[in-house]
């Protein structure tokens, strides 16, 4: 095992240990809530990043799959009493299936017009769910019945339990990304992201690769949707298919560094911390302040660090490695 490899294994082990121990040290529910948000949006970013980062298919419509996941598990739970753990996987499958026709339509366009088409599909789904009064509660939405402490129904009294659930999701997302990144699919994806025509010319089956990666991305995004609904005990089309979900998934990845394993996590930590600090500094929340700051950060990153902030972290780590005295 060469030195950098050993160090990355060690640092990941340390990171995992810190992540697992954090709820034991941080007990205020305010802080746990922020940690859960960070993990959730990191996970969303990781799911988005497979599609948007590695293959550079810049979707701003991932709320479609977030919402489908949320609605599938909630309908199964409220109407049929099926556990959200099963509903979560079912929601993922529904999202995967939905990504086929949506992808079939949107992949006909490239670049910015792909982006617009994805926005339109997510918005169209929201409008459709607003109309579904009979089995999906229309615009009013519904609250999830509170069963107290029911781990089998994904309901917990301790907030830290939610923390571990979403930490597990993030770990799955990172593991999937790591596996794909280090397989031939990862290289094909990067080739498609660099130049789709050139990739096809050398024999990459771009449509099929894009379709498959879009399905995985949709599946993971749907899991986040189920978790979020269980966490806030409420669902309606405006929150489940919120454009802000699509924005946030893309934003954290771009700020952190698209097409990198840890980019979305770094981006989320930075953005969520900034927004929390701003809110505590200004006392109450001012409408629009959070996204104003986010968009300024996004513009700064695009203009001065288009590869994302992960570059800064990487450089610092390399400098640290170089400065370390070499032991025999």
């Amino acid at each position: 095992m060469d030195k950098t490899n050993k160090w990355s294994v060690l640092s990941i082990a340390a990171l995992a240990a810190i992540a697992l121990a954090l709820p034991l040290l941080v007990t205020s529910s305010f802080a746990i809530n922020i940690l859960i948000r960070i993990l959730l949006f990191s996970f969303l970013g990781v799911a988005w990043n497979l599609m948007g980062g590695y293959a550079k298919q810049l979707s701003l419509g991932h709320a479609a799959y977030f919402g489908l996941g949320a609605y599938t598990s909630t309908i199964m739970q409220v109407d049929f009493g099926i556990s959200p753990w099963i509903g979560m996987v079912a929601g993922g499958v529904v999202a995967m299936l939905a990504s086929l026709p949506i992808g079939w339509l949107c992949f006909r366009l490239r670049g910015p017009y792909f982006t617009i088409a994805t926005i339109a599909t997510a918005q169209a789904l929201m409008l459709i769910f607003l109309k579904f009064r009979d089995f999906a509660w229309g615009a009013e939405g519904t609250t999830i019945p509170n069963l107290g402490n029911a781990p089998l129904m994904m309901q917990f009294e301790a907030k830290s339990a939610y923390y571990y659930v979403v930490l597990g999701l993030l770990a799955i997302g990172l593991a999937v990304t790591y596996t794909i990144e280090n397989s031939w699919i990862g290289y094909y994806l990067v080739a498609i992201g660099e130049d789709e025509d050139a990739a096809e010319a050398i024999g990459v089956n771009a449509p099929s690769i894009k379709r498959n990666i879009y399905m995985i991305s949709a599946f993971l995004t749907a899991l986040a949707g189920t978790f979020y609904t269980q966490y806030i005990y409420f669902i309606d089309p405006a929150t489940a298919f919120s454009f802000n979900i699509s924005i946030e998934a893309a934003l954290v990845s771009i700020v952190g560094g698209i097409g990198t394993l840890w980019g979305p996590v770094i981006g989320t930590v930075l953005l969520e911390t900034t927004s929390t600090l701003l809110q505590s500094w200004l006392g109450s929340s001012i409408g629009g302040l959070q996204l104003t700051v986010y968009s300024l950060i996004l513009m700064a990153v695009i203009l001065w660090r288009p590869t994302g902030l992960i570059g800064i972290v990487g450089e610092a780590y390399q400098r640290y490695l170089r400065r370390r005295p070499v032991r025999a």
Binding site: R108, Y113, T115, A120, G288, S295, M299
Partner: protein
């Protein structure tokens, strides 16, 4: 029955004129600079708030305030091209998409902070006036907006086809490299394209003000329409965008009439998705890239 249809068509056509101003701007920027301006709707919003304040503070009629909003937004367009967009032009379209997207988010949320989410309206002497033509009802404010919008679109067409600068813009949109070799300064042409596009958005804002409320999210409605119209009308094609916008206005209005009041947008999305499925290069053909 026939009268209801005719009335819906007229309503749609009149609002379609406003959609045309927004989508012509989007398609002009796409054609010349090769970027999609996600913030185009926010400039309509800025135009509306400018007209609102000019009207409430200085008593300037919203439609007349066009002579102020258009130059102000033209200058804004030149500055945005020169200081922001110029820096991200390159083979990779990720920074371009997210720069204009960030600009849209920024302007929208700044508006939310400065003006709050309240709806602002201006009431003019002609806001409630209408012509009656047989059984049909034609609101004066919308008619003026439509006529001015068509006049501005026509003026743009004349500009693009008769002046040197206009021809330079069309040349740059056909082949940027060759145009540069012919001595056309691309950044100057891009600045003018952004300026004109934003001025048109500002004009749309002023024209809307007598019959439409201003609020921070108002641009989103128009920009979605514009994107659909631009795809339908073939990317980068000014005349195509104009015709598609009018069609979209009519389709939306018929959707509201026959599917339900909240279904106008759904009809529009359905049109977009159907177009993508069956005519991905726009109704007129051409390349969708």
């Amino acid at each position: 029955m026939l009268e209801t249809v005719a009335q819906a068509v007229i309503n749609g056509l009149l609002i379609g004129g406003i959609y045309a101003l927004v989508s012509i701007g989007v398609t002009l920027i796409f054609g010349v600079v090769k970027i999609v301006n996600f913030a185009q709707g926010e400039f309509v919003m800025i135009g509306m708030y400018l007209s609102f304040y000019l009207s409430t503070q200085f008593g300037i009629d919203p439609i007349a305030s066009l002579v102020i909003t258009m130059p102000v937004l033209f200058v804004a367009g030149v500055l945005i091209q020169h200081f922001l967009i110029r820096r991200v032009l390159g083979p990779n379209d990720m920074p371009q998409i997210f720069l204009t997207f960030a600009l849209s988010l920024l302007l929208l949320n700044l508006a939310l902070m400065l003006f709050t989410a309240n709806y602002r309206t201006v009431h003019t002497s002609y806001s409630d006036e209408a012509f009656h033509l047989g059984g049909l009802y034609i609101p004066v404010a919308k008619l003026i907006a439509f006529v001015v919008a068509m006049f501005l679109s026509g003026a743009l067409w004349v500009f693009l086809h008769t002046t040197d600068l206009g021809k330079a813009m069309r040349a740059a949109s056909q082949n940027r490299d060759v145009a540069t070799l012919m001595g056309i300064n691309p950044n100057r042409v891009f600045c003018v394209a952004l300026g004109i596009a934003l001025a048109l958005a500002g004009a749309a804002g002023s024209l809307l003000m007598p019959f439409y409320s201003a609020y921070p999210f108002v641009g989103q409605v128009f920009v979605l329409m514009a994107f659909v119209a631009v795809v339908l009308g073939t990317l980068g094609n000014v005349m195509g965008a104009l015709i598609a916008s009018l069609m979209m206005g009519i389709a939306e209005s018929l959707g509201i009439q026959y599917v339900g009041a909240d279904s106008g947008l759904l009809v529009v999305f359905a049109m977009l998705l159907l177009t993508l499925a069956f005519k991905p290069n726009g109704l007129g053909g051409g390349r969708a890239r």
